[in-house]
């Protein structure tokens, strides 16, 4: 009996690579055979992601049984006495959870695409489904990866896929530009990530996440001074902790780019130019999650450096507030969602930086569901509105699109953090963690306060969006006669709507604290796992190495406080926009509105930096290239040209001259050999 159980477990892990490979197969099918298939590759994608979902659930169940997996499966480069580059699988509670989230959202997005893309007769469907398949493959492989090198490879692939998908409608003006921007901005962050990966290899000789030889473990040993393998690491002149901070910040560069944190967030709102299901897949639930997931994955490393943690927390808190303020004035429903996405990922970073590992993962999970729901809901509205996205052209859709309305409302309540929807529990826990740790650390406290302020804004913009879209009188002809929606649109909405409502129950910390019940399932889930990569271990490290200490505070108090702020924001929105004919209240903000609609001139200053600094550097390197590099190359070529021109005169074409030269050579050779051999003595 025990043996059967073991073999089932082993088999579950054996087939785990198929989770990633199935979408890859659908990519290949859609790319090469998509034209000939009835739904242009959609069915292949749905089947593949559905299979991935089932396998992920199986792996999750296996992991829940207490079995973990951490193996190399393919070695790319192997050097003796040094590091090796390999692909491997790391299946523990965190990655199993993330696998389920990613494959579920990918599955639903594929389904939704049937309604959004196929039924609307969009061109380029095989390309679209190929992109979705490749994207899902990359993201799942990223989640599965057991080392930083493999993560980096798939991190980049995810970026490539986002470029492909955002630029899907490449014949229009905006999408290609947005795609390029997304690619370049995230790539800017990835430079730091790449340097970080190389530096981690140089420091530790390994980049695996888990195990006795993993880099977080080695770093921890080095800091503890316990000798061992981590005893004498090269730290390049810095103290060990200082150097680890530098490494963590380098990797954080990639995280800031992918997770759209300040100041590299500017690509995400533009990326809304892509098809809406793509926005749901890439920019809400998965790709942007990659950054946060990466920090969570190597949290054992970040936990060693209080400085890096504080920066993570502060950037997160600032981004949460900064993005939320911009979402307040947007007219486009997808733009509002885009800024709310940035803001919510800010919360996750805040949670991670504040030492709330479980809280951040919790928010990652709930956000994945409710934000995918909101994006898909927005997609449904956009279908109904014949691809109009301006909220001021909508209104009154509540009665025409009841399914969309109620699911969207569920998602909005979750986003705003209203009890008992999912977002409330997770956001509240993030803020609670920030608060209890922040009471001993002013920087964290500042981050917490920004996060708290953002709660108010979140409530406000969320309900502004809901009210403008669904309530009041229809403001345009299109809104009076919306397009009907098919089952493939409604099914994902219903599934996600249910999840967004109930998933928060997985971790009701305030209730647990108040009643003493053991209902913090996610805490239990993440507490175990492989040695050194579970939340229990992280808690110890945070306390001993980073010196985090939690103040004694009831979570109920913090929960009530943030809930009241969210309700205040929602209430304000309701007061301002609930009438039949809401007014443009944001106009009253005057210059501030301009500042907000122009995104604090973030794009402008980044373009300015790129133009002044970028062209300066480019000009200098151009001069170097033209002068030095080309000079050397041209010099070499002109020397050989000149000498060739002279030397070729030897080739007179006259046989006698050749014979003379031959004879001369023979004489010289004879004399030389003779002298060397002593023939003339």
């Amino acid at each position: 009996m025990a043996e059967t159980a073991t073999s089932t477990v082993a088999f579950a892990f054996e087939v785990a690579p198929a989770i990633a490979i199935l979408p890859l197969a659908s990519f290949v099918i859609a790319l090469f055979a998509g034209k000939y298939l009835p739904k242009r590759g959609a069915l292949a994608g749905i089947t593949a992601t559905g299979g991935s979902l089932l396998l992920s659930l199986w792996v999750m169940l296996t992991v829940a049984g207490g079995a973990y997996y951490n193996e190399e499966i393919y070695t790319l480069v192997s050097t003796p006495d040094s590091f090796d580059l390999h692909f491997g699988l790391l299946l523990d509670p965190l990655s199993a959870l993330m696998l389920v989230i990613v494959s579920l959202v990918a599955f639903l997005v594929h389904l939704f695409s049937l309604g959004y893309m196929n039924d609307e007769g969009e061109p380029g469907l095989p390309r679209y489904y190929a992109g979705l398949g490749l994207f899902t493959f990359s993201m799942l492989s990223f989640v599965l990866s057991d080392n930083l090198f493999m993560s980096f490879v798939f991190f980049e692939l995810v970026g490539l896929c986002s470029w492909l998908l955002i630029g899907h409608w490449y014949r229009e003006d905006a999408p290609p530009s947005a795609a390029k921007k997304a690619f370049l901005v995230t790539r800017f962050g990835d430079y730091f990530f790449l340097v970080g990966v190389v530096a981690i290899f140089a420091t530790f000789g390994t980049a695996t996440f888990a195990g006795a030889e993993s880099f977080p473990t080695l770093a921890e040993e080095a800091l503890a001074g316990s000798g061992g393998a981590g005893g004498e690491l090269p730290t390049f002149g810095l103290s060990a902790q200082g150097w680890f901070t530098v490494l963590g910040l380098l990797v954080l560069g990639g995280v800031l780019g992918k997770s759209a944190q300040f100041p590299l967030h500017t690509w995400l709102p533009d990326a809304m130019e892509g098809p809406t299901p793509v926005s749901a897949l890439i920019h809400a639930a998965t790709m942007v999650a990659a950054g946060v997931y990466l920090v969570a994955r190597m949290y054992g490393f970040y936990a060693l450096s209080p400085t890096a943690l504080a920066i993570v927390a502060f950037v997160g808190g600032f981004t949460a507030l900064f993005a939320a303020s911009m979402a307040v004035v947007k007219r486009d429903v997808k733009q509002v969602l885009a800024y709310s996405t940035i803001s919510q990922y800010g919360y996750m970073m805040l949670g991670l930086g504040a030492g709330g590992y479980v809280a951040a993962v919790f928010h990652l999970m709930t956000h994945a569901f409710f934000k995918a729901l909101l994006f898909l809901g927005a997609g449904a509205v956009i279908i109904a509105m014949h691809h109009r996205q301006d909220m001021w052209e909508m209104g009154g859709l509540k009665n025409k699109l009841p399914v969309t309305y109620y699911t969207f409302l569920a998602g909005s309540l979750a986003l705003a953090g209203i009890v008992p929807f999912a977002g409330f529990w997770s956001k509240d826990e993030v803020l609670y963690e920030a608060l209890v740790h922040g009471l001993n650390d002013p920087l964290l406290l500042a981050a917490y306060l920004m996060g708290l302020t953002a709660v108010f804004f979140t409530g406000f913009y969320t309900f502004r969006m809901v009210l403008l879209t669904f309530h009041g009188e229809p403001r345009t002809h299109t809104a009076r006669n919306p397009h009907s929606l098919g089952w493939s649109v409604k099914t994902p909405l219903v599934v996600l709507g249910i999840l967004a409502t109930v998933i928060g129950l997985a971790n009701m910390t305030p209730i647990a604290e108040a009643t003493g019940l053991e209902i913090e399932f996610l805490h239990t889930w993440l507490e175990h796992g492989l040695e050194g990569v579970n939340s229990e271990h992280y808690g110890e490290v945070l306390e001993t190495v980073a010196g985090y200490s939690a103040a004694e505070l009831s979570p109920l108090l913090a929960a009530v406080f943030s809930l009241s702020l969210a309700l205040a924001g929602a209430g304000l929105a309701y007061r301002l926009y609930s009438g039949d004919r809401p007014e443009h209240h944001t106009d009253r903000l005057g210059a501030a509105k301009r500042l907000l609609t122009d995104n604090y001139y973030q794009d402008e200053y980044q373009v300015w930096i790129a133009q002044t600094l970028g062209t300066g550097v480019a000009r200098a390197s151009d001069r170097f290239d033209q002068g030095v590099v080309d000079g050397v190359v041209n010099g070499v070529s002109s020397v050989s040209l000149f000498s060739g021109d002279r030397v070729r005169r030897v080739q007179t074409g006259i046989v006698s001259n050749y014979a003379t030269l031959l004879t001369l050579g023979l004489v010289a050779l004879l004399v030389g050999v003779g002298l060397a051999g002593g023939w003339f003595l």
């Binding site: 070729r648 007179t652 014979a659 003379t660």
Partner: protein
């Protein structure tokens, strides 16, 4: 009995006379004659060393070289013919098209 050095000297002298002809003459037919001289210088060497070591191989080889010289002349004459057809002359210094 003549010491082998003198055979070698004779051979070197004939070879260098042939070489001299090649280096100074311009007529392709003289080239063929000079090459004949050089080949025969080699023959003298072979026969001399055959005698020196009491082994016949060198002698037999010199016969082969004579045969080879005949073939060489056949080819050489062909080249001279083509030279004449193309340049209207058998002067080797005229044929300078294979240069830069």
């Amino acid at each position: 009995m003549v010491a082998v050095q003198y055979y070698l000297l004779l051979s070197a002298a004939i070879f260098c006379i042939g070489l001299f002809g090649i280096l100074t003459r311009r007529n392709a037919l003289f080239f063929l004659m000079s090459v004949e001289l050089m080949l025969n210088a080699a023959n003298i060497n072979l026969v001399a060393f055959s005698f020196q070591y009491g082994n016949l191989t060198g002698q037999v080889f010199s016969l082969f070289i004579t045969a080879l010289a005949a073939a060489e002349v056949a080819v050489g004459i062909g080249i001279v013919l083509v030279l004449y057809r193309n340049f209207g002359d058998v002067d080797v210094t005229k044929a300078t098209t294979l240069r830069w």
